[in-house]
Symmetry: C2
Subunit: 242 residues, 2 copies
């Protein structure tokens, strides 16, 4: 561990996964943090927390954020905690409640994207549930994906100016929706390409976030892992009906 | 609408569902609230919000909480917003982050409990996905349910005294874990009965919450709807292998 950093993220070292929503916020804010399991300790760091060998609240699953004596999990919770400290959300309970609501809606779609390749059980491999995955993916692409993304587009349309999902400034929710669109485009490139004309404001938001200096520099760095078939967003062409 | 109430809950009027976690918090705190869609407006109230015909943040799905001009959704978000106002969480960012983490873990298990009867698509009826539901339920009962409940038991074991999940006092998380156990016992009575000896602290917590005067009075009232097969927790005996 590096004692001088402000934040420690404890997450699987070889995939973007749910941890990437937190990495993006830390990177965008230029925060001082350590991606612990990518350092010399490796995954031992994760298992020490999961086995209850570290003080603080017991985690059920990574990502884990450690800040001083505080140990917390759950992506939306971690982001809601970090955001006021990283200037990634406005002041006031109301604005923060709207942000968390949207972040939790992102989390719902992330969970559904995961379930496209694991509809039956997370204990079984993809190959063991491929038939169910095809049915689930078809329902996801026909109904759930358009419903959720259409909802976010509609939220932008109702927002002042349509540039930001929360309030009048960039927030952690914009970063997460960017990552959601990146992941969905990796997993379902054909569907995302076909559907994206329905979401002009989201497309603009995605471009705006990608161009933020710290984000652009992060995406071009070795710190940004590639998408792969161990993460949440997996590209199995047969799930898009190919 | 009753203009004099502090809070308005907008949720399906004939089922407990996700709204019940919020009803319980409002009831336990003795809050002044209206369960809008159970009043004369009925479900029209829900659709007005979903269609964007009301001001405030657009909701994707109920439950919706209206407090003054604020309109928010997502159970964990609504509870995190209400809890400081209803004295259902302690002071301080750290304690609140631990509470929200646990509430989101409750939400994860609630979602998995829902998916036992709808593993393939929410657009299909249960009867159309019964075979997949059996496989998913078996994985849920063998692995996921013991994992999550064992986690909550372990959290209580590590907590001071083991009576409360967060800090040193009753919180909204205790109420939600009570409701979770009620729902799981309705849906999977045999499994919950077999497993409950593993969770002595959770069983004590459940009894303690049920005995709180406002909770006991609510549970005995007409305001408490029964569980049924339109909600999240559904009793289909065949999913327990009967």
């Amino acid at each position: 561990m590096t004692p001088s950093v402000d934040y420690r993220l404890v997450y699987w070292p070889k995939l973007q996964g749910r941890g990437e929503f937190i990495r993006l916020a830390l990177e965008d804010a230029g925060a001082s943090y350590e991606d612990v399991a990518r350092g010399p300790q490796g995954m031992t760091a994760i298992f020490e927390y999961l086995r209850g060998e570290q003080p603080g609240q017991l985690p059920l699953a990574p990502p884990i954020l450690v800040h001083g004596e505080l140990v917390i999990t759950q992506v939306a919770n971690i982001l809601a905690y970090l955001a006021p400290r990283l200037n990634l959300v406005g002041d006031g309970d109301d604005e923060r409640a709207v942000a968390l609501q949207l972040q939790l809606t992102v989390a719902d779609l992330v969970a559904e994207a995961h379930d496209t390749h694991h509809p039956v059980s997370t204990a079984l491999a993809y190959d063991e549930q491929k038939d169910a995955a095809k049915v689930r993916s078809s329902a996801f692409l026909d109904a759930r994906l358009p419903k959720f993304m259409g909802y976010f587009e509609h939220c932008l349309e109702r927002a002042n100016g349509g540039d930001f999902l929360v309030g009048r400034a960039h927030s952690y929710v914009d970063l997460s929706v960017f990552q959601l669109m990146e992941g969905l485009s990796y997993a379902f490139p054909r569907s995302m390409s076909q559907l994206s004309s329905r979401w002009p404001r989201l497309t603009r938001l995605r471009d705006r976030v990608a161009a933020r200096p710290n984000v652009a520099s992060y995406l071009a760095s070795e710190r940004r892992l590639g998408f792969n078939e161990d993460g949440i967003f997996r590209h199995y062409p047969e799930l898009e009906g190919e």
